[in-house]
Symmetry: C2
Subunit: 418 residues, 2 copies
């Protein structure tokens, strides 16, 4: 007699239940229909119907009989890695990264190319991004895969419509990147999204990093700029217009060095990768403003490994500023962990000690309220996998694809049968 | 055939549905059983059973037939204001405030008393708080009411067990205030909670202020100290150990004035009420450290109303620092609004202009990402109503009381019938 309040429509319930089954298999494959029923509370007949639908959509596949079990063997299920791909692109200040993964998250391609174009004009930059997206889609298309989504990660403030409102490091203002991609890619049948790089990187940390459950996380994305991704009880914090995490332009040194945003002494002006390079390699800067930081970061790493004192002090100084940034997050948000990502992840062995010391000193809660600073276990490039993860999150939330003609063609079926 | 995944137990569903009906009546009284059914999607027979249960628990009552309607008049329902009371106490650095409200939120008592005791010893301070709580409970008890909960608001870091881990302004460290209250009040049959004052004040803003729906809000509680309450998409942000919102001890002026926490140049050292009083009333400070700021704040108001230039400049300077604090919140969290509360609410007419200007200047998003600074519409004392609101939130979430012998006694029934 008592029923749930605000009952959902039958279609909603079905989509929700399909997603429950899909997520269970993602976390527990290989597993049987009976395993799914036991774990989710759905009855067995319902699970069979849902699994049949997911197999028809080519999201799940039967992987063979179970071994090592008492009684009659069950048919085991896993995610179907063959028919689909999702694409993530990270726009950095000096390079573009494209990756594609299949539904289980296996890497299908991982490309880097230099990206000095942003310094010329937004139009040229967008054309370069479009060309990379098109090549990535064509590459997975030749494998017989249907693209389920493309997300582009950008360092800067991105609104809910995918418009880059303000990116001091790229020099972009009110650039409708999502709209431009939609047009240039001729309104493809998959969704295109544009999001902040730190927001996407922290999605990758949630999905692939060692942070299970509804944790409180923060991520400091380090490149030319610095921005923060924030996860509260497992949910990405976006703010009212999507502009959260702009930690890079909080002033930490009054009358400090000039920042690309026009202010002085911003966190990224003292703790960003260019500031570190100036500090560690005072001779390196010559000629016009460098846009490709990779060789200099490698040189800093090389000297640090050789225990060069002035390099170690430059890194410790950068670590102190990052600890300052982490203390802002700790005092306001009391996260479990602040993750150093982007290029900071490569340099973390020489940043962490001074960062932790400054965090503890500046956080008002004893022992920083339990907050630790750690390096990303995903390396420097979390934003591109995070961009792809955003598409997978969308699917896992119940926005399920219908297989296209391509993905159900004989050719693809043959590939699938292999 | 398709059922909801992870089905809840029948008892859980019933509690959830009772809460749905209770909240609907809270928001829409007077309303009929048919109104509830139409709005919640529960069927009419179910609503009748749930309403009967809520009337038995004395949470709802029939308020008479509807007027002004077509057709047969319905019996209208409202919250029952008679049998229960909830108590909230705010511990300030210079005064204690106790309030009690009934289930609909009507004020039953509102008491203030000075609180210099905290300067002597935590034991004396706790005894004073206990005495006030006991008097408030006795007062509502004499009205035939059953107390449903007591919450105490404290300026400082409070953990999930109600232990005040660190309160620089009260000089308390690791004080088990909830445990001490439980013991001194002899383990009463109602729940006791202790929470941060800004966290509770923002609950009051959510419940009674003009911020409907899942807004992104921040609240700056101004007294001797400053702390922030943060609401993200309608949910209070507590952090991993309950230590969020410690904005008062973020350094905003390197080598600035000393702070009670032992650091220098913290936000509260330059923008707190004592700093304002020193700035606005340089002659006022004499003798031992003042603990009762009320007369000085009134004098500042009086001079500001008389347009005294140095007072106005002192207030503008405080406003600039509060705008700096708001810019930290805006850059990291992108809220819709930062609410000036506590004693800042009394002084807001002279703080807001400079605060808004500094916010706009320091926020990296254009026009501060849509964030505005406003004064609390609830006046200076939001934390005590917020403490009471926390108990009401707990009830509205489905933790429903069983009426005690007292609340169902003949005497109380008579009071109820009046």
């Amino acid at each position: 007699m008592i029923v749930a309040a605000q009952p959902a429509g039958l279609a909603d319930v079905r989509a929700a239940n399909l997603a429950v089954v899909l997520r269970h298999v993602r976390g527990n494959a290989p597993c049987s229909r009976a395993d799914i029923a036991a774990a989710t509370g759905l009855n067995k007949a319902t699970v069979s119907i849902l699994v049949a639908d997911l197999i028809r959509r080519r999201l799940l596949r039967e992987t063979g009989p179970s071994g090592h079990r008492v009684g009659r063997p069950s048919t085991m299920l896993g995610l179907d890695g063959m028919p689909y791909a999702v694409v993530g692109i990270e726009v950095g200040s000096d390079q573009l990264t494209a990756i594609a993964v299949d539904l289980p998250g296996t890497r299908l391609l991982s490309w880097h190319r230099s990206f000095a174009d942003h310094a010329t004009s937004p139009g040229r930059a967008v054309a370069t991004i479009v060309a990379l997206a098109r090549r990535a889609a064509a590459h997975v298309g030749r494998q017989g895969r249907q693209v389920l989504g493309l997300t582009v990660a950008v360092p800067g403030l991105v609104d809910g419509d995918g418009v880059v409102r303000h990116s001091p490091n790229l020099g972009w203002h009110n650039l409708d990147l999502r709209g431009d991609l939609e047009t240039a890619l001729r309104k493809p049948d998959y969704p295109i999204a544009v999001d902040n790089n730190a927001n996407l990187a922290i999605l990758a940390e949630q999905r692939y990093g060692p942070y299970p459950g509804p944790a409180n996380l923060a991520y400091l994305a380090g490149d030319s700029g610095i921005s923060a991704g924030i996860v509260v009880e497992g949910q990405l914090l976006r703010g009212s217009r999507g502009f959260s995490g702009a930690i890079g332009h909080i002033q930490v040194m009054p009358d400090g060095p000039p920042c690309v945003c026009g202010r002085r002494g911003c966190l990224e002006a003292v703790a960003g990768i260019p500031a570190l390079i100036r500090r560690a390699l005072p001779d390196a800067e010559s000629g016009p403003r460098r846009t490709d930081h990779a060789p200099d970061v490698e040189e800093v790493q090389r000297r640090a490994k050789a225990n060069d004192p002035s390099t170690l002090e430059a890194l410790a100084e950068t670590g102190r500023w990052l600890g300052y940034g982490a203390s802002l997050l700790a005092n306001l948000l009391n996260p479990d962990v602040v993750i150093l990502g982007g290029r900071f992840a490569l340099l973390a062995p020489w940043l962490l000690a001074s960062a932790e010391a400054t965090l503890t000193e500046r956080a008002v809660a004893p022992r920083a309220g339990g907050c630790r600073i750690v390096a990303s276990t995903l390396g420097a490039g979390s934003a591109a996998p995070g961009a792809a993860a955003r598409v997978l999150d969308h699917i896992d939330a119940g926005h399920l694809p219908e297989p296209s003609a391509r993905a159900t063609s004989h050719e693809a079926s043959q590939a699938y049968a292999r």
